[in-house]
Amino acid sequence: MIKTTEKSVFKLPKSLKAGMKFPFCAGCDHGVAIRLVAEVLDEMNLREKTIAVASIGCSVMLYDYLDTDCVEAPHGRALAAATGVKRTNKDKFVLTYQGDGDFASIGLAESLHAALRGEKVSAICINNTTYGMTGGQAGPTTIMGQITKTSPNGRNEEYYGYPIKIAEQVALCDGTAYSARCSLDSIANIKKTKEAIRKTFEVQLQGLGFGFVEILSTCPTNWHLTPQESHERVRNELFQVYPLGVYKEV
């Protein structure tokens, strides 16, 4: 007679809505990033006091996945909205989830000024080096030589200038308590990303200042690569331009 025991080895975090399904393209890292956010919210018991701020882009439907209160901000203004939420609700936990276009192009002023003011909020920025939702155009983080729908000959200095190093820029702000760049290309890096997310949440709870993590992510559809090739691109091309690491920790 064989005796069996059941052990749960995998379940959805409570901070994700029951029955929700990510609509992201195959191989896109958004789902992994959002799951990590939800896991850390669970582990730090923050779900019930969280007010999340959604941004514009593939990140927009955050409220369809996260089982927390959530407000949508106009394009680029997530950290302004988060400032308004936090300043009038100091006991709440406030996070933004944005893409690199939202955070570092149209919203650069709002992002850096939130960091300069040392807003006690946590910001997560997905950097996939393109405008994903609109179909893969050149963005602020598109790397030199990268071919996109609006850089058909590859990004060059003459027409496009240079990409922004977001985590480094945020680290330069005196109000920043934590700034790191992570990746989701391997199990080890996924674990590191989760720890960085935890850190951005902790500095908010400790009142130390602005918490930020930039997550290098894939966009297989617009990169015209397979999911596996996409993670190889992250390792082989993006790590050179956007080195992983903690750029500021107070």
Binding site: R47, I51, E72, A81, V85, R87
Partner: protein, 349 residues
């Protein structure tokens, strides 16, 4: 109650505090910078939220965030900078957030100058944001009304969960008048069934305007317009002055009504049958009142410190029943009592 001598800007700021404003977010622009200056001091004393925003775009989105949690929050600005806020006003209307925006008009277009003007009637009542939406607009003509209508702005914003603009101008903002700071006279409106307060002992809530499902988007806009219908039925406010048996009704809004009244008094002394209708709510517009008066008067004269903006709403309301004339200049100081009285006499001759 004792009277205090104060400016329109300070009256608005103190009234906002009395109304229970939890957060002020703003960026300086003449002629309304004193509102932000006053708030920077008083809000910190009261340990309420105050942020010197990096731009008007940031300021209005801070207000969006604050109001999504049910906080009473506001910003104040002027003309070219209110133009920067139009995208967010559309979001705020779609999200049904109780935002209060104080818009103190200066002369435009472009950078223009800080002269008093009423050139932003269209900007406030029609707006430059995208899509089908409406904003409640209240227009004071005295410093006392700056107080009373600031109170009302917070109340209507909360009551209808709708953005509300207090539309003043540089003249009103900078001039001093004796006023009474009565207490905030309106009931507090519960935010419990919609505000983002953390998903504790209830389902999570989301406030957003994205509508990928066509039927849901249609339903949302229809809900908004049912609300606007309620606003139009319940909240129209205007001032009528000597309209009984008036052959000519002068119609105007905001600070220029002061000169119009003086001109009407002069003309009445000369035996001219002239009166005034002043919309206080620019949206909802007192359309029915115009239609009613059009049955008894012979003519309307719209006077504005602009090249003719409200006159279009007057003509739509009057709908050809009687003629609607216009008299205005883009900058207000040229519309003296004498100028207005001369125009009234010209139309009567």
């Amino acid at each position: 109650m004792t009277k205090t001598l104060t400016t329109g800007n300070h009256a608005i700021a103190q009234a906002a505090i009395n109304a229970g404003c939890d957060g002020y977010f703003g960026y300086p622009i003449t002629p309304q910078s004193e509102i932000g200056e006053f708030m920077s001091k008083k809000m910190q004393e009261l340990e309420r939220a105050y942020v010197c925003a990096e731009s008007e775009i940031a300021a209005i989105n801070m207000v969006l965030g604050a109001c999504s949690t049910g906080a009473k929050a506001m910003t104040s600005s002027s003309s070219c900078a209110v133009a920067l806020m139009q995208e967010s006003l559309s979001y705020i209307a779609a999200d049904e957030l109780p935002v209060v925006l104080v818009s103190v008009m200066r002369a435009g277009p472009g950078l223009g100058y800080i002269y008093p003007s009423q050139g932003d009637y269209n900007q406030a009542t029609i707006g430059g944001g995208n899509g089908d939406y409406k904003i409640i607009v209240l227009a004071p003509s005295t410093v006392q009304e700056c107080i009373d209508l600031t109170y009302k702005s917070f109340y209507l914003a909360q009551k209808y969960r709708n953005p509300t603009i207090l539309l003043a101008d540089g003249l009103l903002a900078q001039m001093m008048e004796p006023v009474e700071f009565n207490e905030y006279p309106y009931p507090e409106i519960s935010i419990e069934d919609w505000a983002l307060t953390g998903a504790k002992n209830r389902d999570s809530r989301a406030i957003y305007s994205l509508g990928p499902q066509e039927d849901r988007l249609v339903e949302r806009v229809e809900t908004l317009f049912n609300k606007y219908k309620q606003i139009e039925e319940n909240e129209v406010e205007f001032e009528e002055y000597q309209t009984d048996n008036a052959d000519l009704i002068v119609t105007c809004f905001g600070s220029i009504a002061r000169n119009v009244k003086s001109a009407i008094n002069q003309c009445r002394e000369k035996g001219l049958k002239v009166g005034m209708l002043r919309p206080i709510t620019l949206y909802p517009f007192p359309t029915k009142k115009y239609q009613e008066l059009a049955k008894t008067t012979k003519k309307f004269l719209t006077i504005e410190m602009n090249m003719g903006q409200m006159v279009r709403d007057v003509r739509l309301a009057v709908n050809g029943q009687v003629p609607v004339e216009f008299f205005g200049k883009s900058v207000g100081q040229w519309l003296s009592v004498e100028d207005i009285a001369a125009e009234i006499e010209r139309l009567n001759s």
